[in-house]
């Protein structure tokens, strides 16, 4: 894991930019990317960097790569009729997307004792405390299974969909999915979700990203950042 931690890899963006443009003019996209990252790195918060070309999602803070997630795929997924659908235009890059509502905000367990009783004195034995009808000390909670497929809403009108597997795109798969969705719509259970930039990754990677996608998390999207 520490290969990524130690990869404090803010590289010479200027050098990269210059080299790409034959030592004369830096690549405007790379300069813009560097400026965006500089803006994010000024703040103490963690930010994500999505590089569709390298198919990686990096967790960074202060320009340092803390961890790297290798992606299995990046797709634009939208709900379309089987025939005659219009695909939305991909969001431009480089750009900074911001999570406005994510699983890190929503998926929370809430504890609330039914009632409170006086605390025992530090040198007092608690054995005389009522046990049957009063609130009992909270046991260590068992670990909860973190979801591995979830959506976060982005400020640019798109969703970010994290999943283990991309939906089947074969003809039969699309047809059966259309029938299932049509049936759900007839029952009044159909959902029209915003188009999603979908990142496919391993189950564990999806789970460890879950808590980072919360309101305000910025995602820098750019190509060929190292």
């Amino acid at each position: 894991m520490l290969r990524s931690v130690l990869a404090s890899t803010f590289t010479s963006l200027l050098a990269v930019a210059s080299a790409r443009a034959g030592e004369s003019t830096p690549d405007p996209a790379l300069v813009a990317t560097a400026e965006m990252e500089a803006t994010l790195a000024k703040r103490p918060a963690v930010y994500l960097v999505l590089d569709p070309t390298r198919r990686v999602l990096e967790i960074r803070a202060r320009g340092t790569v803390l961890d790297t997630i290798q992606l299995r795929g990046i797709e634009l997924i939208s709900q379309q009729p089987l025939f005659g659908g219009r695909h939305p235009v991909a969001p431009p890059m480089p750009a900074i997307w911001t999570v406005t509502d994510g699983p890190g905000d929503r998926d929370r367990e809430v504890l609330e004792p039914e009632s409170l009783r006086p605390a025992p004195k530090p040198d007092q034995d608690d054995s005389d405390a009522p046990s049957a009808d009063a609130a009992t000390p909270t046991p260590t909670p068992p670990p909860r299974e973190t979801p591995s497929s979830y959506r976060a809403t982005l400020g640019n009108g798109w969703d970010l969909w994290i999943t283990e597997e991309l939906p089947s795109q074969g003809r039969w798969g699309l047809f059966t999915a259309a029938v299932r969705d049509g049936l759900a719509r007839l029952r009044g259970q159909g959902q029209d979700l915003p188009p999603a930039v979908t990142l496919a990754m391993t189950r564990e990677d999806a789970q460890r990203l879950h808590h980072l996608l919360r309101s305000g998390t910025p995602i820098l999207v750019a190509s060929d950042i190292e």
Binding site: L76, L111, V179
Partner: protein
């Protein structure tokens, strides 16, 4: 008369038997047509997920006509990032895997199993006040270090166990729970020891980072005040 009574040489059951497969076939065909028709209608109504490769369009406002200005912009951005980039000793905490890494000049000098926040929300039944037991994300700084720390238990520590917070402050002090050392990283969050060693590696804390005794001592000795801590 006898001739009239002779049975006819006609098998009345045969045509009936021959009709059944036809009728069955027709019924099956109708059922299949109905199924296909329904499926076609449903498929027409449905909106399945359709995927396309992500080919981004270039943002329009990234260019600059003046090459020298572009070089200056790039250099400035690089300088700004370099200014905030961690140097020397720093700590990285992975709150999903519950691992703490102590880094010195880009080399990892210690990895420790730790415990981090549960992410659970606790609500006070008296007034609805809530606490979120998250380990904070992002950069923090070791503000102070204490040997033999004493924990002044906050209200949530009582409420979580079903107790009313005591009015007498002296009833809040606990000189065992934090272990031998504490590194304070702001807003009440602490890197400290634990009595519950078997829970190391799990998300069981109220936001603090718990370490085993030896790892805590190592971190305490090697991370001076001002050490930056990166939590994700």
């Amino acid at each position: 008369m006898n001739a009239e009574l002779e049975p006819l040489d006609v098998d009345l059951g045969a045509p009936r038997r021959r009709r059944w497969p036809v009728v069955l076939g027709i019924l099956l065909a109708v059922a299949a047509l109905l199924c296909c028709g329904s499926a076609a209608v449903l498929a027409r109504v449905g909106r399945p997920y359709v995927a396309r490769p992500y080919i981004a369009t270039a943002a329009s406002d990234t260019g600059d006509a003046d090459p020298d200005r572009m070089v200056r912009r790039a250099a400035l951005a690089e300088k700004e990032i370099d200014k905030v980039h961690p140097k020397g000793v720093y700590i990285v905490v992975d709150t999903y895997r519950n691992r703490l890494h102590l880094i010195d000049k880009g080399k990892e000098i210690r990895t420790a199993i730790c415990s981090t926040g549960t992410g659970i929300v606790l609500r006070d039944p008296r007034n609805g006040r809530r606490w979120v037991f998250d380990t904070p994300m992002g950069e923090r700084v070791v503000e102070r270090k204490v040997q033999h720390p004493v924990w002044a238990k906050p209200d949530w520590a009582f409420i979580e166990d079903g107790y009313l917070p005591p009015k007498d402050a002296s009833e809040r002090f606990d000189n065992q729970s934090l272990g031998d050392y504490a590194l304070y990283i702001g807003d009440g969050y602490i890197i400290h020891g634990t009595l519950f060693k078997s829970l190391l590696g799990r998300r069981v804390t109220h936001g603090c980072i718990r370490l085993g005794d030896e790892d805590l001592e190592f971190v305490y000795r090697h991370a001076p005040i001002g050490t930056r801590v990166y939590l994700y």
